[in-house]
């Protein structure tokens, strides 16, 4: 590996959210990244390079980062006069490691919901045989909508040092995607004692029962590595929408799917029987401290 590995960022069918997420990395970490890697091309950042020139040159790429979904269709979408699929494969040919940045690049994400183009999918599904067999390391999927900048930086630094990174069944780095979004949420005590939020906009209450929070079913590090260094959605009162999982986007994301008042889905790996038994016990007790306002202001 070069001392300053060459990184090329390719944009497919995207909203650019992952780019802006990267730019929101801790400023010192971002500077470290720019000094430790040679970002040879990014369509929003670099001015000195041209994508087609790089493709036509002999230049090798250490890390190919792709943001956005891929398609063979050029009626709806083209980059530099080519299809995203075509450019992707040309780039993969020259690359050692391929990282799908964000849910769209990993499996199609939000953009795959555009039904007039049936050919929108993620990087892995878009690799032609030649490109796929040539790769020595599996495509690394960093799901998330957007991805957290630290997940990108840490992946790059680990692979730079160790040459590889362990992936789960969805090809996501195990160390980032083994915890649940639920781990570290500041509303955990409310979850434990089944004190639900009556409605949005409160510091108190768990968002799982009514507001559709997918925290207990979603693999991510959002409450462990905070967003923008300071926070997370669930801490603030917005439910996790499960954007790192392959079923995102789902239907009715801001409410909990229930049948006859009972949640349809229970926390990951926990049976309905176990969850309902525990909930029944917890709900039996009214704990005043948890029913009250968290902070009691004067006047």
């Amino acid at each position: 590996m070069r001392i300053k590995p060459k990184v090329l960022w390719f944009q497919g069918i995207t909203c650019n959210g992952n780019t802006h997420s990267l730019l929101c990395a801790n400023p010192n970490r971002l500077e470290l990244f720019l000094n430790s890697f040679d970002l040879i091309y990014h369509p929003s950042l670099t001015t000195h390079s041209n994508l087609l020139d790089i493709i036509n040159s002999n230049e090798g790429i250490d890390f190919l980062l792709i943001e956005g979904a891929i398609s063979n269709n050029t009626d709806f979408f083209s980059i530099s006069n080519s299809s995203t699929k075509d450019l992707l494969n040309k780039l993969v040919q020259k690359s050692t490691y391929v990282v799908a940045v964000g849910s769209c690049a990993s499996y199609g994400g939000i953009h795959a919901k555009f039904e007039l183009n049936e050919d929108i999918t993620g990087v892995q599904n878009s690799l032609d045989k030649r490109a796929a067999t040539r790769l020595k390391h599996k495509v690394i999927n960093l799901t998330g909508c957007p991805v957290h900048p630290e997940w990108i930086l840490q992946t790059l630094f680990i692979v730079k040092s160790h040459g590889k990174i362990q992936l789960d069944d969805e090809n996501r780095p195990v160390e980032m995607y083994s915890t649940l979004a639920h781990h570290g949420c500041t509303r955990n005590e409310y979850f434990e004692w089944k004190v639900e939020s009556d409605h949005y906009g409160t510091k108190e209450g768990c968002l799982f029962y009514d507001q559709g929070c997918r925290g207990p079913m979603t693999k991510s590090s959002c409450n462990k590595i905070l967003w923008n260094d300071v926070n997370s959605k669930t801490r603030v009162g917005m439910p996790c929408i499960g954007c790192t999982e392959l079923d995102f986007p789902r239907e009715n994301m801001l409410e909990t799917k229930k049948h006859i008042g009972i949640p349809f889905e229970t926390p990951l790996g926990i049976s309905k029987r176990a969850y309902l038994s525990l909930t029944g016990v917890a709900k039996t007790f009214k704990i005043n401290r948890l029913q009250d306002k968290l902070i009691k202001y004067d006047d």
Binding site: L30, I110, P146
Partner: protein, 451 residues
């Protein structure tokens, strides 16, 4: 002679097609060739799901779309004659989020999307503005990242939060949190003072005449010097007509056709796809060359964005610059950076006005799903100008959803006899560099244009 160039660093890409005669652009076309189909995606979805989908129209202005969606959804209740209450606190927290996102966007645009190009006009000097290597480029990204923490405190994260919802907001900040947000704003103010204006923000806000340009120091002085040196005060002029759709953030809604600002009527906004590709038609009519649509007000092209807001709102410094330099590239850029100072102070006032004892959210009396039929519009001012969302719901699902983004106003296609706003601005350019700088002066968001 015809040239085609691919333009990047516009939140996506576009093809700039120029027709030259005697070294001058006589006709221009801006082709947006990428379409993601959000309006189609939203059909059949649950109304509240729009709050998750629309921020993903754009990575840099997602919160603008979120607010437009919330306004549209709340107006559905209004149009269905159902009372809905939103507290002042919730409205303020929404505006705060929007304002911070606009600030972030303007900082990034200036240092990432336009200054590298303007600085390169003077070979050799101004190396600090270089993309990637320049110290000013990196400092700007750092400040943008830090300022955004303010939004993360009420939204949970940025990009892509849906903390605004019909009935209010999902967050319930403490005084501590509001104070922290103010800290980040103060840091951004220090950046503005030290790196942009070179004078204190209160001194800057007292500027009211074109002669104050001489009082500028720091990076805005560099921009001013470069503009005068390379004639940016003479290029990029377009129809000189301005449009602002919403009163939020203290802007004034209205339009300027000749001199004075007049009221607007949303019914006079007409979108056309005469030159725009048809998503459902395989064979495209030859006239159609872009995925961007065209939008006019009262059958005229109008510019929207910070310059429009300064003009309609009567901000003296920019009006004075405009009197001297019309709607040139120089005026347009100055208006955008001027808006930063205005918004920074506005953020501080918003924060001070929040009464944390008010509820953040009042549950609507009925669910949107239970309204049989309704139609509504949500309109707001985003970083790049006026943004409009039109939603129609029926039997619990979205029947139709239409988005008109500010970049459509400015960069939508026109005809040879009546070119679009940016097209007209580019006509008369004497070099490709001039043409692209003119294009950039509009702050293009390619992904928003075509959505």
């Amino acid at each position: 002679m015809k040239t085609v160039d691919i333009i990047e660093r516009i939140e996506g890409e576009a093809h700039l097609k120029l027709d030259w005669r005697n070294g001058v652009v006589k006709d221009s076309r801006i082709e947006f060739l990428n379409f993601r189909g959000f309006e189609y995606i939203l059909e059949g979805k649950a109304p509240l799901d729009a709050l998750v989908y629309t921020p993903r129209i754009c990575g840099i202005c997602g919160q603008a779309h979120l607010l437009a969606t919330v306004n549209a959804l709340e107006n559905l209740y209004k149009n269905a004659n159902i009372d809905l209450e939103v507290t002042k606190k919730a409205k303020l927290l929404r505006e705060l989020g929007l304002a911070i996102e606009i600030l972030d966007s303007h900082i990034k645009w200036f240092y990432m999307f336009i200054m590298p190009d303007v600085a390169s006009l003077s070979q050799g000097k101004y190396k600090d503005y270089q993309a990637m290597n320049g110290s000013k480029w990196l400092d700007a990204i750092k400040v943008a990242s830090d300022t955004m923490k303010g939004l993360a405190i009420i939204g949970g994260q940025w990009p892509h939060t849906s903390y605004m919802i019909p009935g209010g907001v999902m967050c319930d900040p403490t005084l501590l949190e509001l104070a922290t947000i103010e800290n980040y704003i103060d840091q951004a103010i220090m950046f503005f003072e030290k790196n942009l204006s070179g004078v204190s923000i209160s001194d800057y806000m007292s500027f009211n005449s074109v002669s104050n340009l001489d009082d500028l120091r720091a990076d805005l002085k560099d921009f001013k010097d470069l503009s005068f040196e390379h004639g940016l005060t003479n290029i990029g002029k377009s129809y000189d007509k301005f449009f602002v759709i919403s009163d939020m953030l203290g802007f004034k809604s209205g339009r300027i056709k000749l001199i004075n600002a007049g009221k607007i009527n949303l019914d006079k906004i007409k979108e056309s796809d005469e030159f725009s590709f048809d998503a459902k038609d395989k064979k495209q009519n030859k006239k159609k060359y872009s995925w961007a649509k065209t939008v006019k007000y009262d059958e005229n092209f109008f510019e929207t964005g910070p310059l429009a807001r300064a003009m309609v709102g009567g901000r003296k410094f920019i009006k004075s610059i405009h009197k001297e330099y019309d709607d040139s590239v120089f005026t347009r850029v100055m208006a955008r950076m001027d808006e930063m100072a205005y918004l920074l102070q506005k953020c501080k006032r918003i924060i001070k006005a929040v009464d944390i004892s008010e509820p953040s959210f009042i549950k609507p009396k009925i669910k949107l799903k239970d309204i049989y039929y309704a139609k509504a519009v949500g309109s707001i001012e985003a970083a790049r100008g006026s943004l409009m969302h039109e939603v129609e719901i029926e039997k619990g699902k979205i029947k139709s959803y239409n988005v008109i983004t500010p970049t459509v106003w400015n960069l939508g296609p026109g005809s040879k006899s009546e070119p679009g706003v940016a097209q007209k601005a580019i006509i008369g350019s004497k070099s490709l560099k001039e043409a692209t700088i003119t294009l950039r002066s509009f702050d293009v968001c390619s992904v928003c244009t075509t959505h």
